[in-house]
Amino acid sequence: MLVKFERIPMIRPVWDSTTRFENEIESLFNGYVTPDFFGLRAPALDLVERQNETRVIMELPGVQKEDIKISLVKDLLTIKGKRKSQGLPEGAKWIRNERQSGEFSRTIQLPHPVKTEGISAEMTNGVLQIVLPKADEARPREIGIQ
């Protein structure tokens, strides 16, 4: 859902459009650009490789873990799900509505084969972390010299 936000004097951000340039840009888009405009459909992620595993870290604030689906086909990892809209309590009215709800999906190619039975995932404070252990053939091995 994309809702145009109104500037109201009671509560409003002070510096998210601090510079004149940013104000100009914002006025071009007539207020439709919000700080997290591209945020939800393709959530940001980090990929960290360690010796024996790779970790995927993805920001999913306000997403229930039941609403996330993780799948792995060959070396393609897909994380998809949805953030439910919370809606407004009766009689309330929006002043700003920047947090997006709806579906998201990301697919990334992993840098190595994965030991599928060892994959684990957890959601903490709105951050999803997936641990993908490397398949034996992808683990570094020290070769002794005869």
């Binding site: 004097p9 009671m10 509560i11 404070n125």
Partner: protein, 128 residues
């Protein structure tokens, strides 16, 4: 409710410092009910202790440190999660009871309830 009142921007003392520029602006929802303003901010990766919420001089400042998320051992192959945290300032009007604020952090979302002062709440007057 606001009577067209305009809060004067004081940009000279609300500009973030260079260090604060490394912080991202979190997306926010704000809605108004008859008794309060409710703010919801996406602050993924923080903890209750890593969030500071201050109300001062007509401003509410929200700052969250998520640097621990980035300080993971290993090689970063893809890095899209920017900055070391979140920072945002909201102007608060006079009609808020600053002594009565409720804040909770769940699933990466901070919810702040700013109750209205008694004198700005809608009141029904009975006619005798």
């Amino acid at each position: 409710m606001n009577n067209g009142e305009v809060v004067v921007r004081r940009e000279h003392d609300t500009q973030p410092s260079i260090a604060e520029r490394e912080f991202r602006v979190p997306a926010a929802d704000v809605y108004e009910t008859s008794e309060a303003y409710i703010l919801m901010l996406d602050l993924p990766g923080a903890t209750r202790d890593a969030i500071s919420l201050t109300l001062e001089m007509g401003e509410m400042r929200v700052k969250a440190d998520v640097s621990s998320l980035h300080n993971q051992e290993g090689t970063l192959l893809l890095s899209e999660i920017a900055g070391s945290g979140f920072f945002r300032v909201f102007s608060i009007g006079d009609g808020i009871d600053t002594g009565n604020v409720d804040a909770r952090y769940e699933q990466g979302v901070l919810t702040v309830k700013l109750f209205k002062s008694e004198n700005v709440k809608p009141r029904e007057i009975h006619i005798n």
